[in-house]
C-alpha cells in the first residue's frame, strides 16, 4: 500500500491540474475577456446561425459569457469529477483506473466549448465564419485531448479480489444451465430517467416552438425526436442485461436481444469472480471497452462480476448477481471437457 501511495498521489495531482484546474481556468478567462468586451459590442449578439452560416437568432450581449461558464464549466466539472469518483472508489480488481482518457475528454470539452462560445461571442460574423470557428475548435480540442493524455498517468487499483471458483461437481451426462442478470444501480437509473426526461422535454419544446412559429414541425423537431428515440433505445439496451451459462458457453444479451456477446465454451481459458468498478476500470457504465488488457465489459453496476480470459488472451467482464455460481459452473463444465 505504501509503495503505491506516492505515485498515486502524484497521478491524482496531475489529473486535477489537467482535467479540472486548467480547463476551468481557460473557460473562466475567456468568459472574463468576453465580459470586458461587452461595452464594445452591440446590445444584442447573434446566438443562432442558419445552415448557410448567417445569423438568424439574436440575444443580449451577456448570453455568451453566461453560456460559456454554464456549459463549459459544467462539462469540465462533470467529466473531471466523474474521473475522481472512479479513482477514489477504485476497488479490488487491480486494474488501472482509466484516468488518462477521462483527463483527455475533460480537457478537450473545455477547449472546444471555450473556442466555440468564445469565438462566436467575440467575433459575431465579422471576421470569422461559423465553419472556421468550428474547425479551429475541433482541431484545438483534439490537440488539448492528446496533450492531456500525454501529461497524465494511470494508477493501479488498490488490491485484488480475483477468486478462482471451485468447479461445480457434475455427473457425466448431467445437463446444467445457469441464468442470471445484472442491472444498473439507483444512481444509474436516476441518470437514465433524467436523460430520457431531458430528451423528451427538448423534443416537445422544439415542436411547440416550431409549430407555434411556422404552423408545422420542422427539421429541428424531427431531429430532437430522433435523439429522444436514440436515447431511449440506448437505455433499453444498457440498463439491464441477461446472462446465461450452459454447455455451449456464455451468452450476455440486452433485454431486447441485441447487442449480444457469445463466448463458446472451447474459447474459455480461465474464469474468475472479481469486484468490478465500472467507472475506474472502464470509464463508465454500460457496454464498454477498456484500453490495455481490460477488453470488453458489460458493466452496469459496482460489485461482483464474472471475468473470462479467452484462449487468445482477450478478456471479457460482466457484472452479475451470484457470479460465484456462474463461475463455478463454467469451471465445472470446463473440467468435464
Amino acid at each position: 500500500m505504501n509503495a503505491r501511495t506516492a505515485p498515486r498521489r502524484q497521478a491524482l495531482r496531475r489529473y486535477r491540474w489537467v482535467a479540472l484546474y486548467l480547463p476551468l481556468g481557460l473557460v473562466l478567462v475567456v468568459a472574463a475577456l468576453q465580459t470586458l468586451l461587452i461595452p464594445d459590442l452591440s446590445a444584442t449578439v447573434p446566438t443562432h446561425f442558419g445552415a448557410d452560416g448567417t445569423a438568424d437568432g439574436w440575444g443580449p450581449a451577456w448570453t455568451f459569457p453566461v453560456l460559456l461558464v454554464a456549459a463549459g464549466g459544467g462539462s469540465v466539472l462533470l467529466i473531471g469529477l466523474l474521473g475522481l469518483l472512479g479513482l477514489t472508489e477504485i476497488g479490488g480488481s487491480g486494474k488501472p483506473a482509466q484516468l488518462r482518457w477521462t483527463a483527455a475528454l475533460a480537457a478537450a470539452a473545455g477547449v472546444l466549448i471555450a473556442v466555440l462560445v468564445g469565438g462566436m461571442g467575440s467575433a459575431p460574423g465579422r471576421s470569422l465564419g461559423v465553419g472556421t470557428i468550428l474547425a479551429v475548435g475541433l482541431v484545438l480540442a483534439i490537440g488539448a485531448g492528446l496533450l492531456a493524455y500525454r501529461c497524465t498517468v494511470d494508477v493501479a487499483g488498490d488490491g485484488t479480489r480475483a477468486e478462482q471458483p471451485a468447479p461445480l461437481p457434475l455427473v457425466p451426462g448431467e445437463r446444467v444451465v445457469w441464468t442470471g442478470s445484472t442491472s444498473m444501480g439507483t444512481v444509474g437509473r436516476a441518470v437514465s430517467a433524467v436523460a430520457v426526461a431531458l430528451a423528451v422535454i427538448s423534443a416537445v419544446a422544439c415542436g411547440w416552438a416550431e409549430i407555434s412559429a411556422d404552423g408545422s414541425a420542422g427539421p429541428l423537431t424531427w431531429s430532437m425526436i430522433a435523439v429522444a428515440v436514440v436515447v431511449v433505445m440506448i437505455l433499453l439496451t444498457t440498463t439491464s442485461a441477461r446472462i446465461r451459462v450452459d454447455a455451449a458457453g456464455l451468452v450476455v444479451r440486452s433485454p431486447i436481444g441485441v447487442p449480444r456477446i457469445r463466448i463458446p465454451a472451447e474459447q474459455i481459458r480461465d474464469v474468475q469472480v472479481v469486484d468490478v468498478n465500472p467507472m475506474g476500470e472502464f470509464g463508465g457504465w454500460g457496454w464498454r471497452w477498456a484500453a490495455g488488457t481490460g477488453g470488453w465489459g458489460v458493466v452496469l453496476r459496482t460489485g461482483e462480476g464474472l471475468r473470462i480470459t479467452r484462449t487468445d488472451g482477450r478478456r471479457f467482464t460482466v457484472t452479475a448477481d451470484d457470479a460465484a455460481t456462474a463461475a463455478s459452473l463454467l469451471a465445472g463444465l470446463r473440467s468435464r471437457g
Binding site: 448431467e174 446444467v176 444451465v177 445457469w178 441464468t179 446465461r244
Partner: protein, 116 residues
Amino acid sequence: MLVRIDPAKDEPVFSQLAASVRRDIISGSMAAGDRLPAAKELATALSINVHTVLHAYQVLRDEGLVELRRGRGATVTGAAEGLTTLREDVTHLVEAASRVGVGREALAGLVRDIPA
C-alpha cells in the same frame, strides 16, 4: 438460477426440472417478482423439449410458486416468500438447537412431538 437435470435418472425430466427450480425459489436465490427464463431458452440450453419445460412450469404454477401469464412468461409469486422465511426460521432453529446440544434428528423428533 441454477438448473440441473440428469436424463439418466428414473425420475421424469419435467419433475427433476420442477424440483431444481423449486430449490432455487425456496433457497431465496429467486425472489418474488423475479422472472424465470423463457421456456424456449431453457429448453435449448438443456437440449430438451420445450413442452417438458412448460410441463415443469405448470407443476410449479399448480403449487402456487410461479405465475404463468401470456406474454410475460413465468414469474415467482409471493407464496415463495413464506417458504423462504420459513427456511430462514428453520435455519435459526437448527442453530439454536445445536447451541444447546440438540442435533438435527432430535430436533426433527421434537417437531413431530409438538401437538398440532
